[in-house]
């Protein structure tokens, strides 16, 4: 089949359970032009180089070729994930002040006990002898509870975020051939509603800090000042969505992958100290963010002998780079003790995942909590039903039940 339709075939829902053969086809052809004028790159070295290349923008407003994601949402400015330096750098550093080093080095580490407690309570809630949905009963509520606690968002409002978050993420659902207008309108409305809600909540903390990140973002003034009200809204929307839509897939993919690899599961049960390495391998083998769809070259650039013109949509398929045999020995093997595992699961370069330390900690604790039970469970359906999204890919449900 023509390589010009590769993205359409990857986006096809029928490919969701196993997109990896399509990624292998992509790697054979280097940089691949799609019939809509966008380009796909799926080889490790090229992706890594592009992620460190200052000629590659993350700002979709730099595109000159229309893309499946539709026009930019120009009424609300992008959060730092969709901006370039120096704006990106300033906003990311301000957001980092209450989250990590150098100003808040112990913040994530201090969540260890609480994450362990929440994971334990969720696991204790599994009814004996009944089917469990790993997504709804465990992998979704855990990171959502943690991000709400961390930001300082009341968990009783969580159902509202779930609805908004679903609409916003559906906006990234770049299914070609489909009229995106309605989907994009809902996404824009949901983003605005979430921004207003978080903006008001942050304002209510001005002068009345409650020890959470929203309070810190609105009250702490560093040498560079602080986020203005619009920046505060776009930043907190980004953090809340990221907390809703990514770690859930990493945890669920972890359970799925371990149940598919009983040898790895047995090894981990014998030696739970291997869990951090297992999570890194999971980030390589089944990354929750499969691709970065919003890069754009600021000049004509050459990749694998192909010239990608300035302004063309450029899609970096991280999950394909993670399976590149030129970088990883036996890339299709799930190997929890893989040496030198410099995977692209969290991206690389200046936009490398902001929440990575939290995602790691949550997933290590989540899978360690489930470890004693996993040996007695089996998958009800394999493959499980997937979410429609091909960028933030993961099972919609993962039903497991007692084996035997």
């Amino acid at each position: 089949m023509s390589t010009e339709t590769l993205f359409r075939r990857i986006a096809d829902y029928a490919s969701r359970a196993d997109p990896y053969p399509l990624y292998a086809e992509l790697r054979e052809h280097g940089a691949v032009r799609q019939d809509d004028g966008s380009y796909l790159v799926g080889t490790y070295d090229e992706i890594a180089a592009l992620l460190h290349d200052p000629r590659i923008s993350s700002d979709r407003r730099r595109r000159t070729v229309p893309d499946a994601l539709g026009p930019g949402q120009d009424d609300v400015p992008p959060a730092f994930i969709g901006l370039d330096d120096p704006e990106h750098d300033r906003l990311r550093r301000l957001a980092m002040r209450p989250f990590g080093p150098p100003h808040s080095p112990g913040r994530v580490d201090a969540l260890r006990g609480e994450i362990t407690r929440i994971a334990g309570e969720l696991a204790d809630g599994f009814a004996d002898g009944k089917r469990i949905d790993v997504v709804d009963d465990f992998a979704y509520p855990l990171p959502v509870t943690v991000i709400c606690r961390l930001l300082g968002v009341p968990s009783e409002d969580e159902p509202r975020f779930r609805t908004w978050s679903d609409s916003i993420v559906a906006g990234f659902d770049a299914t070609p051939d489909e009229d995106p207008e309605q989907r994009l309108r809902s996404a824009t409305e949901a983003r605005r509603a979430m921004a207003l809600y978080l903006g008001e909540l942050a304002e209510s903390r001005r002068g009345h800090p409650t020890g959470d990140m929203l309070s810190a973002l609105v009250n702490d003034e560093g040498p560079e000042g602080s986020l203005n009200p619009i920046e505060l809204m776009t930043t907190s929307v980004l953090l809340l969505i990221a907390g809703h839509e990514t770690t859930v897939n990493l945890i669920t993919n972890g359970v799925l992958t371990l149940l598919r690899h009983p040898d790895a599961l047995a090894r981990l049960r014998d030696d739970p100290a291997l869990m951090p390495q297992a999570v890194e391998e999971l980030l390589r083998y089944e990354p929750p963010v499969q691709m970065l769809p919003q890069r754009t070259p600021l000049a004509d650039i050459e990749v694998s002998g192909v010239t990608i013109p300035q302004g063309a949509p450029l899609i970096l398929v991280l999950a394909s780079g993670n399976r590149d045999p030129l970088r990883f020995a036996e890339p299709d093997r799930f190997d929890i003790t893989r040496p030198d595992n410099q995977h692209l699961g969290f991206g690389s370069g200046i936009h490398s995942c902001f929440g990575a330390p939290l995602a790691r900690l949550e997933t290590q604790i989540a899978l360690t909590t489930l470890l004693p039970r996993l040996g007695d469970l089996r998958l009800v359906e394999d493959p499980p039903p997937y979410r429609t999204n091909q960028v933030l890919r993961g099972p919609r449900h993962l039903l497991v039940e007692a084996a035997g």
Binding site: P101, D109, S348
Partner: protein, 69 residues
């Protein structure tokens, strides 16, 4: 337990400073400061930090001794 960080490799992703904040710290926005001798109660955190390093710049234990020589 000894550790060595290959500071030519280190790119300041600071994942270690999140995971073992008593051993690794950022000096300013990006430069890494760390204690080469690791107290016993920090071993688990340091191993996790080494595993999480996106550029695999942290060498732990005997591996550190051999490569540092």
């Amino acid at each position: 337990m000894q550790i060595v960080v290959d500071l030519n490799r280190c790119q300041g992703y600071a994942q270690c400073a999140f995971l073992a904040p008593q051993v690794f710290a950022l000096h300013g926005e990006e430069a890494l400061a760390y204690s080469p001798a690791v107290p016993d109660d920090q071993l688990d955190r340091v191993r996790k930090a080494a595993t999480a390093c996106p550029v695999q710049a942290i060498l732990v234990g005997e591996q550190a001794g051999a490569d540092a020589g």
